[in-house]
Amino acid sequence: MSDHNAAAHDHVEHPTWKQYKWVGFWLLVITAIEVWVYYTPFKDSKLFAPTLLLMSAVKFAVVVFYYMHLKYDHPLFKRLFAMGLGIAICTMFALLFLFGALKIGG
């Protein structure tokens, strides 16, 4: 953590309306695909869940990095978020494993 001085430096980049629009567009499209896939036979395949999880992860990342500005902001915020998210996900996986709710493992 460097000893920056007081002036909160202006953000290097400001996403424009165009970028925000694209993000919104992709959010809609991915969600539409997710819902559409739900109604196809793909729903019963083993790859359904991982595919959906991947698509959601993309939506998640896109909102966090662009709408929440994490891509352009000070690294401190990335660390605060990563810490919380990391511990949360690890704890969740551990709990699911311990309760036998994961399809793999004990």
Binding site: F48, L52, L53
Partner: protein
């Protein structure tokens, strides 16, 4: 002339925007909101974990994706499995993907509106480009986008209320089974977070009407509200996938 104003606790709403000294150059409230978001990750992870742990363990219906019969132990993916069951006793899969997809769309679009609200406050004071039409004026209106976000938030709550009441009608309450308890608690917590966000947005809207939102401090106020709002949205992304779509 005041001295040593740089040493005062940051976050004070002064009439003058003098520069506060901070170790990072960042605003206190922004650091605090990201710490809050990190903490909320654990909160929702605990709720989601419980839901997933209890998935498939309810002893009585209704179930999220399965058909079941009140009078027998039959539980299955297709309606044929409960063919032998009296129509009044049939419990159909309770989750309504088409309806929830709509509320998901609404919430996702509200994030777009939120981002535009923040941009509008940031750009306050910048003159509109020559030949600016109604759309450019609209884009520049923070009041419009704050209200739009709030309205979409209210619409989402409306969808949730509809969903909750129709579930209760179909026999699923928070007390009925493990699914009901964990589902209503999880989505209820999320809905409560959305409601707090709506109140926050309406407060910002009111401030905008009363004195106008502009300048660094107001950008910060809208920024922290936006971060909260987007986070509530990404939690919904996780919930929609894990609870509604994945069986």
């Amino acid at each position: 002339m005041t001295v040593a104003t740089a040493d005062t606790p940051a976050g004070h709403e002064g009439h003058h925007e003098h520069v506060h000294y901070t170790s990072t150059g960042l605003e206190n409230r922004k650091i605090a909101i990201w710490a809050l978001i990190g903490s909320e990750c654990m909160l929702f992870a605990s709720l989601i974990s419980t839901y997933l742990i209890y998935k498939g363990r309810s002893k009585v219906g209704p179930f999220p994706h399965e058909w079941s019969c009140k009078t027998s132990n039959v539980v299955g993916k297709t309606a044929e499995l409960v063919a032998g069951c009296a129509p009044a006793d049939v419990l159909k899969p309770i989750l309504d993907i088409p309806v929830t997809s709509q509320s998901t769309f609404v919430l996702l679009m509200s994030s777009l509106a939120m981002v535009l609200a923040l941009a509008a406050v940031e750009n306050k004071g910048h003159p509109l480009p020559t030949g600016a039409g109604w759309w450019d004026r609209c884009l520049a209106s923070s009041k419009f986008w704050l209200m739009a976000t709030a309205v979409m938030g209210v619409a989402f709550i409306g969808y949730q209320s509809y969903e909750f009441t129709s579930f209760v009608h179909e026999g699923l309450t928070i007390k009925t089974n493990l699914f009901g308890s964990s589902f209503f608690t999880l989505t209820g917590f999320h809905g409560a977070h959305v409601s707090v966000g709506v109140l926050w947005l309406l407060t910002l809207f009111a401030i905008d009407v009363k004195r106008g939102l502009k300048g660094k401090n107001d950008v910060l106020l809208v920024d922290i509200c936006a971060l909260y709002w987007h986070f509530v949205d990404v939690v919904w992304i996780a919930i929609f996938t894990l609870i509604y779509l994945i069986q």
